[in-house]
């Protein structure tokens, strides 16, 4: 019988050790990014790196200013937010408030299906369909622009925003709604003045996570944003967001060289940004659950 007890302990030990895998990988990623990224700061200062306006990593006197890349990411992400917030939240409200049970059981899986399409397919769709369309519409020299990337990224992030917002709405207690109907409010008033405010921080979590997804998205922006590493002036010009720069240039950057380290440093900036987004989202959603009296 002693043996059985030892066996139990061994199993528990195995599970406990393996449970730390995620932590190990996360820490591993942080270590790798710092180890491979920090050497670039022997060449350029942190402020030169972050605020430098010229990204010429392969020139004979290279310059490693990533401001154009950061701004491109910001632009493209903001554009995506303008697309995915109304579409995502609107779809969630529709699913939650207007769609009957039958409609919901059909529509919800379709939205989930939209989320499962690989990003490279979105990128391909952007290149072959949206690009010529935008080019003709605005008479542009190229359709591969920040606008194109924003549209595609926005559509990609919509299902994420939609399902998270839908979750947030489902946490709003029925009694809130009934109380509002009881004082004579109609459905639209109840929705805009009671339900949405009650689910507000849950919905903002959804938006933040949607943005986080858009910032980190790689293949689509690589394929449709046009790739020009200049400070963006218009949505109708090509740009090069951080993810696209890493993906496009890593293949050619000599291992262990300055360019290689600079790309890792960009990845570090990217990682820290999404890390902050995720922590903020987690913080808000915890407060949201406590506010509605759900267990944290």
């Amino acid at each position: 019988m002693k043996r059985a007890r030892i066996k139990e302990k061994i199993y528990q030990g195995i599970f406990t050790v393996l449970a730390f895998a995620s932590l190990v990988f996360l820490v591993g990623i942080v270590i790798v990014l710092f180890k491979e990224g920090l050497p670039i700061f022997k060449r350029v200062s942190i402020s030169q790196f972050l605020f430098g306006q010229n990204w010429y990593p392969t020139y004979s006197t290279p310059e490693f200013g990533i401001l154009p890349l950061i701004l491109a990411s910001v632009w493209v992400t903001l554009g995506a937010v303008i697309v995915c917030v109304p579409l995502g939240v609107g779809s969630a409200l529709y699913l939650h408030e207007l769609a009957g049970h039958k409609q919901r059981t059909i529509l919800k899986p379709l939205v989930e299906l939209l989320a499962s399409i690989p990003s490279v397919v979105y990128g391909f769709f952007g290149m072959v369909i949206l690009t010529p369309f935008l080019q003709n519409l605005f008479h542009l020299p190229t359709g591969l622009t920040a606008l194109n990337a924003s549209l595609i990224l926005g559509i990609m992030a919509t299902p994420t925003v939609c399902s998270l917002a839908d979750d947030a709405l489902s946490y709003v207690p029925k009694s809130f709604r009934e109380a509002s109907f009881a004082v004579g409010a109609n459905r639209w008033q109840t929705l805009t003045q009671v339900v949405i405010p009650a689910a507000g921080s849950g919905i903002s979590t959804a938006i933040i996570l949607g943005m986080s997804r858009a910032i980190g998205e790689t293949m689509t922006v690589l394929m449709v944003s046009g790739g020009a590493a200049v400070i963006p002036h218009s949505y109708l010009e090509p740009v090069r967001p951080m993810t696209a720069a890493i993906a496009a240039e890593m293949g050619e950057a000599p291992m262990g060289g300055d360019h290689y380290h600079a790309l890792f440093a960009i990845a570090l900036v990217l990682f820290l940004t999404t890390f902050v987004f995720n922590i903020v989202a987690e913080f808000i959603s915890r407060r949201f659950r406590i506010k509605l009296g759900l267990s944290g």
Partner: protein, 282 residues
């Protein structure tokens, strides 16, 4: 009366939102199917590329994607299962669990290209696996780990506490309870999660850019240390590299359709099973 009109307009707005969203799904499927279907043939699916990627088939890319996906799941599944079992069955709630939970959430939010760099630095360079199936599988395995953990956790939480108690009260040990009662009961839910993960891994591109993928290899991969062609990477490469963009574009349509169908079918099955399970449990 004014209230009534506002309500009508508001609801119309919401309807438009979901319509536009689904319209895009329809448009993507329509355009890719309409143009891709012309390219797809038995030969396209079973032959190797010929004439500098302008003719022949995409079989090596399909096979490559299969190997990479299989490897990633083989790596992530045991880890994910163990982690979910620990979190749901063993761990007392406390600081350790919170740390693990936060790392899972954050790992899930790491941009895919960052996984690619991690794989490049660790598997390709440090462990000297080179650009290979092995490196790509490990990288994708880490990427998909949070998804496997959370879906397994969901499945384990759905197992009623009462049958765990029944098993323990019969003198079964904790591990025997998990092995004989909890896991078999949670199996459909766990499988759904695995299927979803397969769909996700099969379509990922950025993590394999520098760890596994090649635009062209001679024939099929020979070992876990070979570079491979992979379907999603192939689409990207056909559109951005090579000497004959126009001819390549037709093949890219074919590839996209194959990948799209594959992923939609895999995810569709998982979504369908999950929906039915939810229906059964009220």
């Amino acid at each position: 009366m004014k209230n009534h009109i506002t309500q009508k307009l508001g609801f119309l707005g919401l309807f438009l939102c979901i319509s536009i969203t689904l319209l895009f799904l329809g448009a993507i499927i329509f355009f890719i199917t309409a143009r891709g279907i012309k390219v797809i043939s038995w030969e396209f699916l079973t032959q190797v590329p010929r004439s500098g990627m302008t003719a022949g088939g995409i079989a090596p890319a399909i096979v490559g994607t299969f190997y990479i996906t299989l490897g990633a799941i083989l790596f992530a599944l045991p880890l994910g299962l163990a982690c979910a079992i620990y979190l749901c069955e063993y761990s007392p709630k406390g600081i350790v669990v919170n740390i693990i939970r936060i790392s899972i959430n954050n790992l899930a939010g790491v941009p895919s290209v960052v996984f690619g760099l991690f794989g490049l630095a660790v598997f390709v360079k440090y462990f000297k696996f080179g650009v290979s199936i092995l490196s790509g599988s490990l990288t994708l395995g880490i990427l998909v780990l949070p998804l496997i953990i959370s879906s397994t956790q969901e499945a384990l939480l759905a197992v009623p506490q009462s049958i765990r108690e029944a098993s323990l009260s019969l003198g079964a040990t904790k591990w025997k309870t998990i092995k004989n009662i909890v896991l078999p009961t949670a199996l459909p839910g766990i499988l759904t999660g695995v299927i979803l993960s397969i769909g996700r891994v099969a379509g990922e591109t950025a993590p394999i850019l520098f760890t596994a993928a090649a635009f062209y290899t001679r024939g099929f991969p020979k070992s876990a240390f070979s570079e491979v062609m992979a379907l999603p990477y192939h689409i990207y490469a056909l559109m951005t590299e090579g000497a004959h963009p126009d001819k390549q574009r037709a093949i890219a349509y074919g590839c996209s359709l194959v990948l799209l169908l594959m992923v939609l079918c895999i995810s569709g099955i998982a979504i369908f099973i999950r929906q039915r399970q939810k229906g059964l449990h009220g």
